[in-house]
C-alpha cells in the first residue's frame, strides 16, 4: 500500500537521503516552489482533510488559516515532538526511520505560513531521532532544500532543534512555547491562541510530527489522493497506530484512517497475546476513554471514535486483557498525570492526588461507597482546569466508572482486588 509516512522505512535502520529522494522525497517541495503559491499549499492541506495527529485532531489547514499574515514581526512554526503521553511512540518510530518527511513537511509549512524560522521541540530520550534530524537538516541544506535561498528562490527557512529535559506538560502547545522561550513550562491562557500570540508574542503554529510529515505527500500527490486513502468516506489519510499491551506483536503501524480496531489488533498485531481475551483498550494514548469488545469493528477515525465515547487521540493503542485490573490500570494512569501536573491550577494539582489516594484505597481493599461519588465529582469538575491535562487525565477514570463500575464496586464490596 502506498501510504505517505512509512513507505520510505527500512527495517532496523534510517532511510538515507538519497533513498528518500529516489522514492519521490522532496518532490512536494519542488512542486510547491515551482508554481504553487503559499496559499496554494495551505489550500491543499485544507482540502486534504488532514487533522492534527498530536491528540486534539484539529483541522491543520484551518489552524494555519488563523495566522495573521499582515502583522509586523516574525511568525513561527514549532513541531511538537514532546511525545510523552503513555502508550504513544509513533513520532519516535517515524523519526528513527525517516527524518526527511518531517524536514520537508516543515519547510512546506514554513513556505505556506511565511515563516522564516522554525523549531522542532524534542523530548528527552529521543536523542536518536534528534541526531537523525540534525543530519537530515545538514543534508537538506547542502542540497539547497533548506536554509538560504531554497531551490534558488528568494525563500530562506531556518530549522532549529530544541532538546527538552523531560516533562509531559511541555507537549501542551502553550507550555511548549514557554519551555522553548526558557520559561517555566506552565501553560498560557487561551485566548490569545498561539496562532495570534505565541512564541515571543508572535503568531505561531504548533503541529505534531506526524501531522507535518504528511504534508509533502499531500502537496506532491494532491488533496484528493490523500483524502482517498482513508477507508471511511469522512476520513482522510493514514494514521500511525502504536500498539502496546496484550497483543502478540506490539508495533507501530501505518494504516488507513478508518481501519477497524479489530483489524489493528488481529491484522497488524497478530491478535491477542497468549490467547488472552480482549477486555478493553485505550485507543489514543493515556488521556482517552476505554473502548470495549463491542467496539471491535469500530472504524478508527476521529468522529467515529468520538461518537463511541472516546478519542482517536495520538493513536497510542493500549490493549488490556481479562487478567488486567482496570482499577489498577486507571490508578497507574492517574499516578502519571498527578506526577506530570504542572502545578499551576488547583483542581489538577490537588484533585489528581486526591483521586490517586482513593483509587489506591479501592485497589487495596479499603474503598468506601462514598468514594465513587467523590470520583464522579472529580470526573466532572476536573474539566474546569487551566489546560487540557486534567480533563485528559479524567478520561480513563470516566471510562472506568462508565464501563466498569461493577469492577470498581467489586473491589469495594469484596474489600480486595478481585483479580489478585
Amino acid at each position: 500500500m502506498d501510504l505517505p509516512l512509512f513507505r520510505h522505512n527500512r527495517p532496523n535502520r534510517v532511510v538515507t537521503f538519497d533513498e528518500y529522494r529516489e522514492e519521490g522525497g522532496f518532490e512536494g517541495l519542488k512542486k510547491a516552489f515551482s508554481g504553487m503559491s503559499p496559499n496554494d499549499v495551505q489550500q491543499a492541506v485544507l482540502d486534504s482533510g488532514l487533522r492534527g495527529r498530536g491528540g486534539a485532531g484539529f483541522a491543520t489547514g484551518r489552524k494555519w488559516s488563523f495566522v495573521p499574515r499582515d502583522l509586523p514581526g516574525p511568525r513561527w512554526l514549532i513541531c511538537n515532538c514532546d511525545e510523552m503521553e503513555p502508550g504513544t511512540y509513533k513520532d519516535r518510530v517515524l523519526l528513527e526511520h525517516n527524518p526527511y518527511s518531517l524536514i520537508e513537511g516543515m519547510t512546506l509549512a514554513c513556505y505556506a505560513l511565511g515563516v522564516r524560522h522554525a523549531f522542532i521541540f524534542i523530548r528527552k530520550g529521543y536523542e536518536k531521532a534528534a541526531a537523525n534530524l540534525a543530519r537530515g537538516m545538514e543534508e537538506a541544506k547542502k542540497a539547497g532544500l533548506l536554509g538560504e535561498h531554497i531551490l534558488g528562490s528568494e525563500h530562506s527557512i531556518e530549522l532549529d532543534l530544541h532538546l527538552s529535559a523531560g516533562r509531559y506538560i511541555c507537549g501542551e502547545e502553550t507550555a511548549l512555547i514557554n519551555a522553548l522561550e526558557g520559561k517555566r513550562p506552565n501553560p498560557r491562557s487561551k485566548p490569545p491562541f498561539p496562532a495570534i500570540k505565541g512564541l515571543w508574542q508572535g503568531p505561531t503554529v504548533v503541529n505534531n510530527v506526524e501531522t507535518l510529515a504528511n504534508v509533502p505527500a499531500i502537496v506532491a500527490n494532491g488533496a484528493a489522493w490523500f483524502k482517498g486513502l482513508a477507508l471511511n468516506p469522512e476520513g482522510a489519510g493514514s494514521k500511525l497506530f502504536c500498539v502496546s499491551g496484550s497483543v502478540k506483536n506490539r508495533a507501530c503501524v501505518e494504516l488507513p484512517i478508518g481501519t477497524t480496531l479489530g483489524d489493528i489488533i488481529d491484522g497488524a498485531c497478530g491478535g491477542m497475546r497468549d490467547g488472552k481475551k480482549f477486555k478493553a483498550c485505550i485507543p489514543g494514548g493515556a488521556s482517552t476513554q476505554f473502548l470495549k469488545p463491542e467496539h471491535w469493528n469500530l472504524p478508527m477515525d476521529y468522529d467515529t471514535v468520538a461518537k463511541a465515547g472516546s478519542r482517536l487521540g495520538s493513536g497510542g493503542v493500549i490493549v488490556f486483557d481479562e487478567g488486567h485490573c482496570l482499577v489498577e490500570a486507571t490508578l497507574n494512569l492517574i499516578n502519571f498525570f498527578a506526577r506530570e501536573s504542572c502545578g499551576w491550577c488547583t483542581p489538577c494539582r490537588e484533585g489528581l492526588p486526591y483521586v490517586k489516594e482513593i483509587l489506591t484505597r479501592i485497589e487495596n481493599g479499603r474503598g468506601e461507597e462514598d468514594d465513587i461519588t467523590i470520583l464522579r465529582e472529580h470526573v466532572k469538575y476536573l474539566n474546569y482546569t487551566f489546560c487540557a491535562l486534567a480533563p485528559g487525565a479524567m478520561a480513563p477514570l470516566d471510562g472506568l466508572l462508565r464501563d466498569f463500575e461493577d469492577e470498581v464496586r467489586d473491589h469495594i464490596v469484596k474489600k480486595k482486588c478481585p483479580l489478585k
Binding site: 516533562r167 506538560i169 517555566r184 491562557s189 498527578a338 506526577r339 506530570e340 501536573s341 504542572c342 502545578g343 499551576w344 491550577c345 488547583t346 483542581p347 494539582r349 490537588e350 484533585g351 492526588p353 486526591y354 489516594e357 484505597r361 462514598d370 467523590i374 465529582e377 469538575y381 474539566n383 474546569y384 482546569t385 487551566f386
Partner: protein, 645 residues
C-alpha cells in the same frame, strides 16, 4: 459598553472588564484567590467559578478571566458553580495545616473567609498532608510554606510587578515551593508587600507576629512620612504600640503597595527612649508649666533683643498644620523670623520646584506609567522615592526608554527594577519636544536654572522634595519669605531659635541660643534646649501632608499618645507615696503613662495664646479648602486649587 446580567442584576461595564469585576461593581463578591487587581490574570486557583446561563459563552467559567460581553447571563449561585467552588476549597484544604490559632494571618485571612463561605466543613480526604521546610527570609518576613495555596500571587508580585529576581517558584505538580534559591534576606526593597498580597499566612510580618489579632487593632488611614511620595498606609496599633504597617490603596499615589521602609521602619514610634515628658531645665514638669516657661522665655528674648533676632524653626517633617501655625507664632512674638529649611540649597531647590510645577506639567503617576521615555536626573530613586521605581518599571515593561542622567555613581542604582541607559547630560536624552516623556529628579540642592531648563523641555515633571512635607514647606517659605536658617545665622540676623520638629545641625547650633524645643525625637536640639515640649508623631496625630506633586493628603490619629503597654515600667503601677507596692495596686490615674505629647500645631497655638494672640485654627483662610479632605480619598492636587500662589 457590554451589558450583562449577573444574578438578575443588569450591569453595564467598560469593555475589558472581567465578569468578576463587573459583579464587584454591583456589590457581589465572587470568591477568588489568585485574582488581584494589580496583577496580571493567572486563572490558577479556579475558585471564581460562575455559571453562564445564556449568551456568547455558556457553562462553568472562571469569572476573573472572562471579559464581560453583551448578552451574558451570569449566575454566581448556580448549584454547579457552588459545587465547583466548594471543591476548590476542599482541594486546597487537603494539605492546608489548619493552624489558624497559631497563624498570624488569622482574622485577616482570605482563605479563612472563603473556606467558611465555600461551605466546606467535612474532611473526606484520607491521605496525609504534605509538608515543607521553611526558609529564613530576613528579619522582615516569616515563612510558613505549609499554608500555601499556590495562588502564585507572591511570585507574580515579586518578579513581574516589582522586578525582584531572588524569590520565585520552584518545583511542580504537588510540590511547588515559593521561596529563594538559598536561605537569606529577601533583596527586593518591596519584599514586605508579600505579607499583604499573600491571601494566607505563608508570609507574615516578623516584626509584629503574635501580638494581636485584626480585631484588636486600632487603625486609621495614614500617610507614610519617609519620603515625599506620600504613600498611603494603615498603621495597625495595639495597646499604644504600632505593631504593623500595611499598604493602603491609592491609585493616584502608590497603587496597592508600599516600600519596605514604610512598612518596617517603625521602631522609632514605639521607642521607649522617645522623649515623652515636658522638661524645664532638665527636670520633668507639667505640660502647661513648660509652655508657660517657653512663652516667657520668648517674650523676654524679644524684649531684650528684638523680635527679628528670633527665628521660629520648623522642618519638612512638620505637618502642614504645624507649618501654618508656626508663622503665626512668629507673628505673635512680635514679628520674629520663621524658617522651614536650615540648608540654603535645599530651600532653593524645593522652592524652585514648587514654583515651576503647575497642573499641566506636574506628572501624575499614570503619566510615569504610560511614558514613552523617562529621564532620571542625578537621582537615587530607591532612596528618594522608592515607590516611583515601580511606576517607572511599568513604563519600562510597556516599552519606554529609561535614561539615568549623571547618576551612575549613585549607590542604589544597582537595585533599580528596570534597565536604563546611562548618559551624562540631559541633552543626551533623545526626546522630541517632550511628548510623552517624564523627567524625574530630586529638587533639593538643585540649581533652579537646571530645574527651569527641565520644565521648559515640555516633559512632565517629577521633582521629589527633600522630606515628606517639603512641598508644603516650600509654599510657606514662599508665602512668608522665610529664610534658610543657615543664611540667617551666617548673616548674624538670628541669635536664638525656638524649634518645632526641626533637625538643626550642630554647626548652626553652636552659634545659636535655643529657647525651647518641641519634638518627638531626641537629638542635638533637644540636648541644648532648656525647655522641652514633647510632640506626637504622625501615628498619634491628625494632619495634612503635601507630596512631591502637590497632592494634599490627610492622615488620621491611629492611636492615642503614650508609652506602649508592652514593657511599661513598673513604676507606673506603683505609688509615689508608698515605698512598698501594695496588692492589688491602688494607684488611680486618669492620664496615659507617657501620654503628655501634644500635636505640634496645638503646642504652637497655646504659645500664641500665652503671647497674647488670638486662638488659632490652622486650616483657615486659603487653606480652608483642605479642611474637608477625605483621609480615605485620593487626596487633592493643590496645584488645581491655586493654593500654590
Amino acid at each position: 459598553m457590554p451589558k450583562l446580567i449577573i444574578d438578575d442584576i443588569p450591569v453595564e461595564v467598560a469593555p475589558g472588564t472581567s465578569v468578576l469585576e463587573a459583579a464587584r461593581s454591583v456589590g457581589i463578591t465572587i470568591p477568588h484567590f489568585c485574582y488581584h487587581p494589580a496583577l496580571a490574570i493567572a486563572a490558577a486557583c479556579r475558585l471564581c467559578a460562575v455559571k453562564l446561563l445564556d449568551g456568547p459563552v455558556k457553562g462553568i467559567q472562571m469569572s476573573c478571566a472572562l471579559p464581560a460581553q453583551d448578552g451574558m447571563v451570569v449566575s454566581t449561585t448556580d448549584p454547579e458553580a457552588l459545587k465547583m467552588r466548594a471543591l476548590v476549597i476542599e482541594w486546597l484544604m487537603l494539605n492546608h495545616p489548619h493552624d489558624c490559632p497559631v497563624c498570624d494571618e488569622g482574622g485577616e485571612c482570605l482563605l479563612q473567609d472563603f473556606t467558611i463561605a465555600g461551605g466546606h466543613s467535612r474532611r473526606r480526604y484520607q491521605g496525609k498532608k504534605r509538608t515543607f521546610q521553611n526558609q529564613y527570609l530576613g528579619e522582615g518576613i516569616h515563612h510558613e510554606m505549609n499554608r500555601c495555596i499556590e495562588c502564585y500571587r507572591c511570585v507574580r508580585f515579586y518578579q513581574d510587578y516589582a522586578g525582584g529576581t531572588d524569590f520565585g517558584v520552584m518545583g511542580s505538580a504537588g510540590r511547588v515551593y515559593f521561596g529563594r534559591f538559598q536561605e537569606g534576606a529577601l533583596e527586593s526593597p518591596f519584599s514586605g508587600n508579600l505579607v499583604d498580597i499573600c491571601p494566607t499566612g505563608v508570609f507574615t510580618d516578623k516584626t509584629g507576629r503574635f501580638r494581636a489579632r485584626y480585631w484588636d487593632y486600632q487603625f486609621a488611614p495614614s500617610i507614610c512620612q519617609h519620603c515625599s511620595v506620600g504613600c498611603n498606609t494603615s498603621p495597625q496599633n495595639f495597646q499604644r504600640e504600632t505593631i504593623k504597617i500595611v499598604g493602603r490603596r491609592n491609585d493616584q499615589v502608590n497603587g496597592w503597595f508600599i516600600c519596605d521602609r514604610a512598612r518596617f521602619d517603625k521602631g522609632y514610634l514605639n521607642d521607649p527612649q522617645r522623649p515623652r515628658e515636658p522638661r524645664l531645665d532638665g527636670a520633668t514638669c507639667g505640660y502647661d508649666v513648660a509652655v508657660d516657661a517657653a512663652a516667657k522665655s520668648i517674650a523676654e528674648f524679644v524684649r531684650n533683643n528684638g523680635a527679628d533676632k528670633l527665628a521660629l524653626v520648623g522642618s519638612t517633617r512638620l505637618s502642614l498644620e504645624g507649618m501654618i501655625v508656626l508663622a503665626q507664632v512668629a507673628e505673635a512674638a512680635g514679628g520674629a523670623k520663621v524658617c522651614y529649611f536650615d540648608d540654603a540649597g535645599l530651600q532653593q531647590g524645593s522652592l524652585a520646584a514648587a514654583k515651576l510645577l503647575h497642573e499641566e506639567n506636574a506628572a501624575y503617576v499614570k503619566d510615569i506609567e504610560q511614558a514613552q521615555w523617562i529621564a532620571l536626573h542625578a537621582l537615587d530613586l530607591m532612596e528618594e522615592g522608592p515607590m516611583l521605581a515601580l511606576a517607572v518599571r511599568k513604563a519600562f515593561l510597556a516599552g519606554a526608554q529609561i535614561f539615568l542622567v549623571a547618576g551612575d555613581t549613585l549607590p542604589a542604582c544597582k537595585a533599580l527594577p528596570f534597565k536604563y541607559t546611562s548618559v551624562e547630560t540631559l541633552d543626551q536624552v533623545p526626546f522630541e519636544g517632550g511628548g510623552k516623556g517624564v523627567i524625574i529628579c530630586g529638587a533639593g540642592s538643585k540649581d533652579p536654572e537646571l530645574l527651569a531648563e527641565m520644565a521648559s523641555s515640555g516633559a512632565k515633571l517629577v521633582m521629589l522634595q527633600p522630606g515628606p512635607n517639603g512641598f508644603a514647606a516650600a509654599l510657606l517659605t514662599q508665602q512668608h519669605a522665610a529664610g534658610p536658617l543657615a543664611e540667617l545665622v551666617a548673616a548674624r540676623q538670628v541669635q536664638a531659635v525656638v524649634c518645632f520638629e526641626a533637625d538643626v545641625p550642630q554647626t548652626l547650633l553652636s552659634d545659636l541660643e535655643v529657647l525651647a524645643n518641641a519634638d518627638w525625637r531626641r537629638g542635638a536640639v533637644e540636648a541644648k534646649a532648656p525647655i522641652f515640649l514633647p510632640t506626637t508623631t504622625w501615628a498619634e496625630s491628625d494632619g495634612t501632608a503635601i507630596n512631591y506633586e502637590g497632592r494634599a493628603q490627610r492622615f488620621e490619629r491611629s492611636r492615642v499618645a503614650g508609652l506602649p503597654l508592652k514593657g511599661l515600667d513598673p513604676k507606673y503601677y506603683g505609688s509615689a507615696t508608698e515605698a512598698v507596692t501594695l496588692h492589688p495596686p491602688r494607684v488611680h490615674r486618669k492620664d496615659v503613662p507617657g501620654g503628655a505629647e501634644r500635636d505640634a500645631w496645638q503646642v504652637m497655638a497655646q504659645l500664641i495664646e500665652r503671647l497674647g494672640g488670638e486662638p488659632v485654627e490652622p486650616l483657615t483662610g486659603k487653606w480652608r479648602a483642605l479642611k474637608s479632605l477625605d483621609p480615605e480619598g485620593e487626596g487633592v492636587r493643590i496645584l488645581e486649587m491655586g493654593l500654590g500662589e
